[in-house]
């Protein structure tokens, strides 16, 4: 039997999530023995529309060209897995969706805006094609990516991690930075998968893994305000990385409007 084949595609993104593969070190060599890597530009393999078993997609859909390209990628892949915050939820570039000012920004930033074919909205891959599994994070966690690959190779649906970061913090015996230092941590509404990386280094979670299941953003917003954050700062916490994810979009917008109309 042929080895399963994979492809890694890049859309609008910073390439950081593809680095999760490249940084896997020994595991990357092992992976190369287990699968046939058909397309992965950052690793020097190019065959964009090769038929593959698993296509990983990094980046959001934010240009007219990407609209057609994502359909072709879907068409030549058995499973499509999003890789990171941009592909899964629109990422940082989806900030331009908030106030519909794409055209204004384009003219403000570029000398020849006529060459820039951005869409009004930067959107997650799932807004355009069927996605089989989503890997969150900015960037993704390499261990989590490889675990998902392994489970797909076994022919089972990868285990989705939807618990809150707090659960992992406690398992890692990280001290709660909100309770001991009053830091505006978003761990209680953010999905785990990062291994509680930031709190383990004394930093508050900035929600790069997106909303956990059953996130109580209203209660956390009230707590953040109680810690002294102005409404606009509460909005920035929720809208930083995953502003297009519905739970964070809704929580952020409540304070975004409030914050700026109060000013």
């Amino acid at each position: 039997m042929d080895k399963p084949s994979i492809a890694v595609h890049k859309f609008s993104s910073c390439d950081g999530c593809q680095l999760a593969f490249l940084n896997a070190g020994e595991d990357l060599l092992k992976l190369a023995g287990l699968v046939d890597i058909r397309h992965f530009l950052e690793a020097g393999v190019a065959d964009e529309y090769a038929r593959v078993d698993i296509a990983f997609v990094e980046g959001s859909v934010s240009t007219t060209d990407e609209l057609t390209r994502i359909q072709r990628v879907r068409g030549c892949s058995r499973y499509l897995v999003t890789l990171g915050a941009c592909a899964t939820a629109g990422g940082l570039q989806a900030l331009r969706n908030l106030d519909g000012s794409n055209t204004a920004w384009k003219h403000a930033v570029y000398a020849q805006p006529g060459f820039i074919h951005t869409l009004d909205q930067a959107e997650p891959v799932s807004a355009h094609v069927k996605v089989d599994f989503e890997l969150w994070g900015c960037p993704v966690n390499g261990r989590q990516v490889l675990a998902a690959v392994q489970q797909l190779l076994f022919g089972v649906a990868p285990l989705e991690q939807r618990d809150k970061v707090c659960m992992e913090c406690k398992r890692q015996h990280a001290t709660c930075v909100m309770v001991t230092e009053g830091r505006p941590c978003l761990g209680p509404v953010t999905r785990t998968g990062c291994g509680a990386l930031c709190p383990r280094f004394g930093r508050d979670c900035y929600a790069c893994f997106g909303p956990a299941e059953n996130p109580n953003t209203a209660a956390l917003s009230r707590r953040l305000e109680g810690l002294g954050l102005a409404p606009a700062d509460v909005a920035r916490r929720f809208l930083f990385i995953n502003s297009h994810a519905p739970a964070f979009n809704e929580a952020g917008r409540q304070h975004y409007r409030q914050g700026f109309s109060d000013d």
Binding site: K30, L34, D163, K170, V179, L220
Partner: protein, 372 residues
Amino acid sequence: MDDNGFLPRQALQTLLDVLRRQGYRTIGPVVQDSVVQYRDIDATDQLPSGWTDDQAPGRYRLTHVDSPRCFAWATGAQALKPHLFHAREVLWSARRDDTGRLAFSEQEPDVRRLAVIGARACDLAALNLQDRHFLHTINDPYYAAKRQGLFVVAVHCAYPADTCFCASTGDGPRAKQGFDLALSELDDGFIVEIGSERGRAIAAQLPLLATTGEQVREATDAITEAANRQFRQLPSTHLRDTLFSRLQHPRWDDVAARCLACGNCTSVCPTCFCHAEHDDVELGGTASRHLREWDSCFSEGHGHLHGFNVRPNTHHRYRQWMTHKLGSWHDQYGRSGCVGCGRCITWCPVGIDITEEANAICAGDLPQEGSP
């Protein structure tokens, strides 16, 4: 020798030395990451002398005062639970050889002997409850191995935090059971009480002096005062029938609107024992480790049954936690599952107070349907 003696402060190191000579790994309270935590220690200067804790719902701060005392704080981030019921533990592993044959190997339990210095009455009451679960209900070999090698030096609590309510659950502040030795801390040293034959053997190697009536009185008064200073309390030590008659109480919705369902309360609770199991498979599929790790009734997975979830929202999850902890524990383990340590109050990011919620739900007559 009598069942107590006085250990001068400068001789506390001898206790550590004696335990270590007997082959114990010694852990005690240290200040790390802005909180008191049980960590490996081999010298008394690692103890948190002069540190005291200020706790409130959702808030924990340490302050340093000019005092020689090492146990002038109430509770740290965790009780003894992480040392006996590990947050993440391998149960067994499997390997596939070149011919495709699977070989399973058992994880040997950790049998190293552990001595803990500084356990509180609430910690020991919780330890007793974890024993009832792990030793007498499910007979867990990993817990049993660690438990068998555990030597406990308790410290009677004289510094309750504002979040403490052990007096109302009947579990503190005096350590009544479960210790090998118990200390009362005075400025110039410790009254040492013997709680077991193992404790007696260790005490025999300490340079103990006779206690004076004045010393015993000071220590006893401090414990009485510690109980009197607590102002939080549960309505009763047996709330099963009251809670189960109020499953439709509007307060469950009220608390669910505030609760983050983040699992911090259950993770710091010294009696919560829920766990999930999963496999960590090596890339290539030739080796796998079967792990168990702390889970929580506030997590989604905890309520999954085949095809549906029995606790889809926070209303159900908070109610499950409280009615189990304060209610159905009586049927399972013969008493309430709460020992009054107050950790769930302090470490809740939004400061939800179990005593306040229980009092609201259990107070007065059953509210009529539709009442606020």
